[in-house]
């Protein structure tokens, strides 16, 4: 046996990797990571409507409505059967997020630029929350910036 061949075989024995085989672990961990990343992307992100409510000290009787802009639009929401209708000067509709939205948009365009307008949404007791949100969304779509919610009328 030539000397050089003997030495070569010894050298190769010394180069064996003695640590644990990490490949299966990396595979599993990668699968878990991809699962979490995909799972989080399938969850629809939160979507918010932000409202600036007036801070009241000492209860509702202290709300200063005269501090609000003099130009006001009151949107009454009432339940008729299974539907919610919006009542405001010049319009009565059950088509929230359709007719109401376009009415408010036209109203906003017709207003003098720079004149602040206060919108009041006045739902009755039984109006579902989703219709209140739809109405509020319509106001935002029409670019009204000051929108307030009125407490429901006393029973």
């Amino acid at each position: 046996m030539p000397l050089s061949t003997k030495h070569k075989s010894r050298g190769m024995h010394g180069a064996h990797h003695v640590g644990p085989n990490m490949t299966p672990m990396v595979d599993v961990v990668m699968v878990i990571l991809i699962f979490f990343m995909l799972g989080s992307s399938f969850v629809s992100p939160d979507w918010y409507l932000t409202n600036n409510t007036p801070a009241i000290k000492g209860g509702l009787s202290n709300v200063k409505t005269n501090a609000m802009p003099p130009t006001r639009i009151n949107i009454k929401l009432r339940v008729r059967g299974t539907r919610t209708i919006a009542i405001l000067p010049g319009l009565q509709t059950a088509d929230l997020s359709g007719e109401l939205a376009s009415f408010l948009t036209n109203k906003h365009k017709a207003l003098v630029k720079g004149v602040p307008v206060q919108i009041f949404i006045s739902p009755s007791n039984g109006v579902p929350y989703k219709d209140v949100i739809t109405t509020y969304s319509d106001c935002i779509q029409a670019r009204f910036k000051q929108v307030a919610f009125r407490p429901p009328p006393a029973q």
């Binding site: 050298g11 989080s40 939160d46 409507l49 409510t53 989703k130 969304s137």
Partner: protein, 146 residues
């Protein structure tokens, strides 16, 4: 004489240790975030949809108020439960609770997570309590239509 055979062979494997460290950190992060999100929100709430919502980039200092509809409907004076961090808060104590939270963290942001079917008479007291606590901004949690 130079002997080639005894030249130490270098390990040609890729060092995966830092990769595993980072991946483990990411997994722990996702697990914790999922756990926190689960604790803050409550199941059984169908959120209303809105076309004109926006993303909230800064989600720090959030206080999520969950309004959960009663299981048997709204008959017999049944009212939705107000849950904050899975603790039920009585209606009468909500304003004082919020006031305390506001004093502890003036930057607090209230997120209202209410079921779409809840009548307005149960939502209005929550809005009034927020106003009484001096919280000037409420974020209505909605979902994208479709």
């Amino acid at each position: 004489m130079k002997i080639r055979g005894i030249k130490p062979m270098q390990d040609t494997h890729v060092n995966v240790t830092p990769l595993i460290d980072i991946i483990m950190c990411l997994i722990i992060f996702f697990l914790l975030v999922g756990h926190i999100a689960k604790a803050a929100s409550v199941k059984g709430i169908k959120i209303p949809s809105a076309k004109n919502g926006k993303d909230m980039r800064d989600k720090s200092d959030q206080l999520i108020i969950n309004l959960v509809p009663p299981i048997g409907g709204y008959g017999d004076n049944a009212a939705p439960a107000i849950l904050i961090w899975r603790n039920q808060i009585p209606d009468s104590q909500l304003a004082s609770y919020l006031r305390k939270q506001k004093s502890e963290n003036p930057k607090i942001k209230v997120v209202l997570r209410a079921d779409r079917s809840i009548p307005y008479k149960f939502v209005a007291p929550v809005l009034i309590s927020c106003a009484q606590a001096g919280i000037a901004s409420i974020h209505f949690m909605t979902r994208r239509p479709g």
